[in-house]
Structures are given as C-alpha cells and as structure tokens.
C-alpha cells in the first residue's frame, strides 16, 4: 500500500514536470498555431540563466525565478518580433524557422558557456526529503508540484479572467473578425509568445537541480511537451493538465512494474492509439475552422 501511494505521488511529480514544460508550448501552440520546435531550447535557456545567475551573481534558484522568467520572456519577445510574426500565415514554415532558432540557440550556448554539463545548486531548504502521507518524498519535487499548480492557476486566470486573455481567445477563434473589432492581434501574439517562452524558461530553471544542464538538454523536453499538448487537445488548458497527469502516472507505474525503457515505448504506443481514435486530443475545444 505504501509503495502504491509512493507511486501515485511519483506519478504526480513526473506529471507536474511534464505540465511545467508543456504549459508554455500549450499556450503558444494552442493560440498562435506556431509549431515551436525551439521550445526545448527555451527550456534550456532557462536552465542556463539559472546557472549564470548563480555562478556570476551568486543568486539562489528561488530568488532568480522572476529574473529568469523576464530574461527568457524577453528573448521570446525578440524572436517573435524578428522571425515568428512573419510566419503566422505559413504555419508549416514555422517548423523550419523554429528548428533553426533551436539549433542556433544550442550552438550559441555551447560557444559562450561551453559544452560541459553545468551545475545548478538545489535550494538548501528543499534539498532533503519530507514525509507526505507517510511516504518519503523529495521536498524539491513537492515544491515543483505546488509551483506548477500555481503557475497553471495564474495562466488560467490570465486566459479567462483578463482582457488580454479574452482578446487572445477571440483571436484564436477567428483572427480576422477579432481584428475587425479593434483587437491588436500583433501585440497580443507578441505578449503570448513572450509569456510562453518565459514559462519554458521557468521550467528549465526548476528542473535543473534534479536533472542535468547541457546545451542539448532541450531535445528531450520538446518531445515530452508535444506529447502532452497533442494528447490533451491543442487549445485546451484543462486538457493539458489532464494529459500531463495521465502521462505522468502511466510512465511512473509502467516504469515501476517493468522498466523505463519499456515504459517509454508503451507510453508512446498509448498516445499513438489514442490519437488514432481521437485525433483532436482528449479535450478539444470546439472552434470554427
């Protein structure tokens, strides 16, 4: 029973990391339709920002979170202004463009910060384990879980309770008509892209004390993020959460019962089967196309 409970918590933890990484992508992909293959590199830039702030300014991870969000969001904003905005009407070209941005970001980091793995210190207060319902769990993982829940709350609020969010949803439904009503879609898209990038940066910073930091780290995250978003349904925030939770629990349990190699294969298989019968994802919002 205790093992079972431990596995539930583990699954939630894996799911929360998946959600954290996927949330930025869900926002960008779901609203602007840009297939952002550089998402993994935005995650990587967040991790490197954490490393740089810690190494050169002596800032701890928690203190630097706001700065990291701003740095990566600014980066995303510039990318949107310079490249992405010219491609909104050519969604397929965004694949190539963002892929290129990703490659350049990787190499830029390799040239400036070096190719070796980097070390980001875990906040010392969260470095130990805590007992949750009688199960020993990493305090930092619990922190990630709560932080992700909070981030999701903020994002949901922005989307459904603010005027920017309402405009964004209007543009998502029909850009032309929204523009006729006086909504500045360019500006809204810039903000959305920057926000999504900032979320990716936060994800990178938060996973860096548990995992490793290298220029190539983004490639695995971008795959995970797309799995979550595609399974959840492209423009459904709730779907993203549910799908992250399902994938987290599924991965956790399969890995516990067999091993991680099998788990990875079975999870992918499950997604393929689900997509076969529900191509729009589990929670597709009805939109006019």
């Amino acid at each position: 029973m205790e093992t079972f409970l431990a596995q539930i918590i583990t699954g939630l933890s894996i799911g929360s990391i998946l959600l954290l990484v996927a949330l930025g992508l869900a926002i960008i992909y779901g609203t602007t339709g840009v297939i952002n293959l550089a998402h993994g590199e935005f995650v990587m830039l967040g991790a490197y920002s954490a490393w740089a702030l810690q190494t050169f300014l002596g800032l701890g991870l928690i203190e630097s979170l706001v700065l990291i969000f701003l740095i990566t969001a600014a980066f995303g904003w510039v990318i949107e202004k310079v490249v992405i905005r010219h491609l909104y009407r050519r969604p397929l070209d965004t694949i190539l463009a963002t892929w290129g941005i990703g490659v350049m970001a990787q190499q830029a980091i390799r040239l400036s910060a070096g190719g070796e793995l980097r070390y980001v210190e875990m906040p010392s207060a969260l470095g130990s384990s805590v007992s949750v319902l009688g199960v020993e769990t990493s305090a930092f993982r619990i922190f990630i879980l709560l932080f992700t829940a909070a981030l999701f709350g903020v994002t949901w609020y922005l989307m459904y309770r603010t005027s920017v969010g309402m405009k964004l949803r209007a543009i998502t439904q029909d850009r032309e008509v929204a523009s006729c009503f006086g909504i500045n879609s360019q500006r809204t898209y810039s903000l959305t892209f920057a926000y999504g990038t900032g979320l990716a940066g936060l994800a990178g910073a938060l996973v860096s004390p548990l995992k490793s930091v290298s220029p190539e780290m983004g490639t695995t995250y971008v795959v995970d993020a797309f799995m979550v978003v595609v399974l959840g349904g492209v423009d459904s925030l709730v779907g993203t959460v549910v799908s992250a939770a399902i994938l987290g629990e599924l991965t956790g349990f399969l890995a516990f019962l067999s091993n991680d190699t099998i788990a990875k294969a079975l999870v992918l298989l499950t997604i393929v089967i689900l997509i076969r019968f529900r191509p729009q994802g589990l929670f597709a919002a009805r939109t006019r196309t």
Partner: protein
C-alpha cells in the same frame, strides 16, 4: 563524358599509376609502402566529437590529446619529426565517425587516428581501420569482447574495473545487488561480468534494469530502490543520466552509507556536473583518479589546468587519451623514418611500457589492450575522490574474461 573522353581519361589514369609505381617500387605489394613520414612530419588524426550529445566528455579527451601532442612537439617531436594533428569533428554521430575516419585514413593519409568515446562510434570506425590496415587508439574504458588487430585499447575492460571492486563491496556492504545501467551494449556486458562475479561470491541480484540513453527521470527507479532495499546499487548509467540519477537519489533522502551506488562510469567530470553533495559517499572503480598522488599525475594535472583553464578536471578517460600519445611516440621512435606505417607501429607498440599518471602501464602484446592499475575511490564532499584501495600489481587486460571459451590472441579471436 563521351566514350572517347572516358578512354582518354582511363589512359591518363594508368599512366599516372605507372609513374607512381616507378617512384614507389612497393606500391603494389602493400598499402604500407606509402611514405607516411615523407614530409618530415608524423600525421595523426584526432577524432573526438566537439559538438553533439557526447561532446560534453569528448571535448576533454580532445584537449588531453592535443596537449600531449603539443608537449611532444615542444620537446623536439619524435626523432626530430613534429606530430601534425588533423582534427575532425564527428559530431557525436556514428555514421559521421565512419566518414571522418575514412577521410583521415584515405584523404589525409594519417598514420594513426586517436578517437572515440562511445562503443557505438568505435564499432562504426572499426571497418575503416581493418580494411585499410590503419591503427586506431581508443582511450575509453569499454565492455571488452573485441579483438581487433587495428585498435590499441588504453582504457579498462570489465575484469580490470570489477575484479577488485565487486568482492570488496560484497564484503563491506552485503550480498543483495541492484544492477542499473543505460540501455546499450556497454552496461549489459559489464553487468554480465558482474553477475558472474556475484554468483561466484554467493551474492544475489535483486533487480537488473536498463533505462533509455539520456534518461533523466529516476523517481520510479528510486521507489524500487526503496522497496527492494539492496545493499549495493551497481550503476553503469552513462552521460547526463548519471547526473540525474545521483541528484534525484540525494533529493529523495536515500543514504549512501547503507545503500551506496557503486559505479564504473562516474568520474570527476560527472561529479562536477551533479555537485559534490549528490556524489559524496558513493564509490567508483577506475585506474585513474585526479587526486592520485604521483609526480607524473601532478605534472599532468598542472599542465592540463594551465593549458585549458584552472577549473578543469582530469578523469579516467582523459588520462589514457593523454598517455596513449606518449606510447605512440615511443613506438614510432623505434622505427626508421622510412618504416613508419601503421603495421610497423602496431608491431613496435606491443609490450611498450611507460609511467603514466596512474602508474606504469604496458601494452599487452597479444590483444593490444593495456595493463592498468585499478583503484577504488569514494567521492568526498569537495568533489574529489578519496582512494581507498589500489590493486597490488598492474592488472592484465582480459577482454574475453566473461567468455571462458574465447581468447584474444595475436592471430585473432580463438575458440577453445
């Protein structure tokens, strides 16, 4: 090209070949007659990934190799000939490794090539060196079970890393072992050998599992550690996964005093990336540690940091990358300039000895692997290892020890 043109072209080629044959009388007899040192330089290839996933480690191997070449050249070269390094970046991709190896051997006419970290990349270049009868120097510890006349192996094979390590751990910690590795050939062969040792010691394997390469989510694995409660976790997880495993082990509050991880793959390089707090208390077996106290190692570490930066670490793959260049030098030194070719270098390097940073090493004449000095280290909170034990004498490389009916001889693999 029309028919006439092609015929003319063919004629021309034959004529050129004829001239070449006249100039170098042995050209048709053997590939080896090409005058490798004709320019007064010894040309070698350096084939480590500077980009891609394994560049993280291979960059340090590249640096150690380049430093050895520079040192040798500064000290007057090999019998007065400078070593000329042709550097290629195979970008962590086995197919690119093979392509670049072909270029170095055929295009640049390198007399030997130094390279590779992963077994996959070594296997990819092997046909090039065997077909062209060139020589490859491979510095990485690996899974053994290879018997090539065209590779000099200066890293450890399973018997050299495990023969002392496994019995020592069984005695100190206990008989319930959990084997975890990355999912490819190296961990499987190491575990195969480990299981044989454990069986002979009456120890038991409670679980054996493999995670995908590059895997970074170990929470389910850690739950299994908790429920199985093994005495020793034997880890052959590689690359950035090592970092994730150690950090998550530590964050989960597990204790290295009662459930230590014993690794064949965790070096100073990985420790620097995971942070000393996550590494402290765990064990590694390797022929070389950065703290090893010898004048040769002191020189090596000092020179390395002076050349590449004061925060850089040396480790058990960068050290062989360094000393194998000196073994190469010693072998070439024995040859007259006209005799310098891969086949002669191979003959000359057999039984060659030198004092490396880890101790005196020797190339085993039959299988071209290396006699090494395995050590057991425990990681400390400063990120360096404390060496707890060293083998009493250098250990013979036995790449087929897990397969008692096979042995690697000078003439090739023998079934007995």
């Amino acid at each position: 090209m029309n028919r006439l043109g092609r015929r003319r072209f063919l004629k021309g080629t034959v004529a050129t070949a004829g001239v070449a044959a006249a100039g170098f009388p042995h050209i048709w007899i053997k590939d080896s007659s090409f005058a490798y040192a004709a320019s007064g330089k010894v040309k070698v290839g350096v084939l480590f990934s500077l980009t891609g996933t394994t560049a993280i480690v291979e960059e340090s191997l590249h640096k150690a190799t380049i430093m050895a070449i520079e040192e040798i050249n500064d000290a007057g070269g090999i019998n007065g000939m400078q070593i000329e390094a042709v550097v290629e970046d195979p970008a962590s991709d086995p197919a690119t490794f093979a392509e670049k190896a072909r270029k170095l051997v055929l295009g640049d006419k390198c007399v030997s090539v130094f390279g590779s970290y992963t077994s996959a990349s070594r296997k990819a270049v092997l046909p090039v060196f065997e077909k062209r009868k060139n020589l490859y120097f491979y510095p990485t510890l690996y899974e053994g079970r290879e018997c090539s006349k065209n590779v000099v192996y200066t890293g450890a094979v399973p018997n050299q890393q495990q023969d002392d390590f496994v019995p020592w751990l069984v005695e100190k910690f206990g008989k319930r072992w959990y084997l975890i590795g990355s999912n490819y050939i190296y961990p499987k062969e190491e575990n195969n050998y480990c299981k044989k040792l454990l069986a002979s010691l009456g120890a038991e394997v409670v679980n054996e599992e493999y995670v995908p390469l590059g895997h970074s989510e170990f929470s389910s694995v850690i739950n299994k550690f908790r429920s199985e409660k093994p005495d020793v976790i034997f880890s052959t997880v590689v690359g950035d996964s090592v970092v994730a495993l150690h950090r998550q082990y530590r964050a989960a509050g597990l204790d290295p005093d009662t459930m230590p991880m014993a690794s064949l793959t965790t070096s100073e390089n990985e420790v620097a990336a995971m942070g000393p707090d996550a590494a402290a208390g765990h064990f590694t077996s390797a022929p070389y540690f950065m703290v090893w106290d010898s004048p040769e190692n002191q020189n090596f570490v000092e020179a390395y940091r002076k050349r590449w930066g004061g925060d850089k670490v040396t480790h058990f793959v960068s050290e062989p990358s360094y000393f194998q260049m000196y073994l190469f030098k010693q072998a070439v030194e024995k040859l007259a300039p006209g005799d310098i070719n891969p086949a002669n270098i191979r003959e000359a390097i057999k039984g060659e000895e030198m004092v490396a940073p880890q101790g005196r090493v020797r190339i085993e004449p039959e299988n071209l692997h290396t006699y090494l000095w395995p050590k057991i280290g425990q990681c400390q909170s400063d990120g360096q290892f404390q060496i707890l034990k060293q083998t009493s004498e250098w250990l013979e490389p036995l790449p087929y020890k897990a397969y008692p009916n096979q042995v690697c001889k000078e003439s090739g693999l023998k079934e007995t």
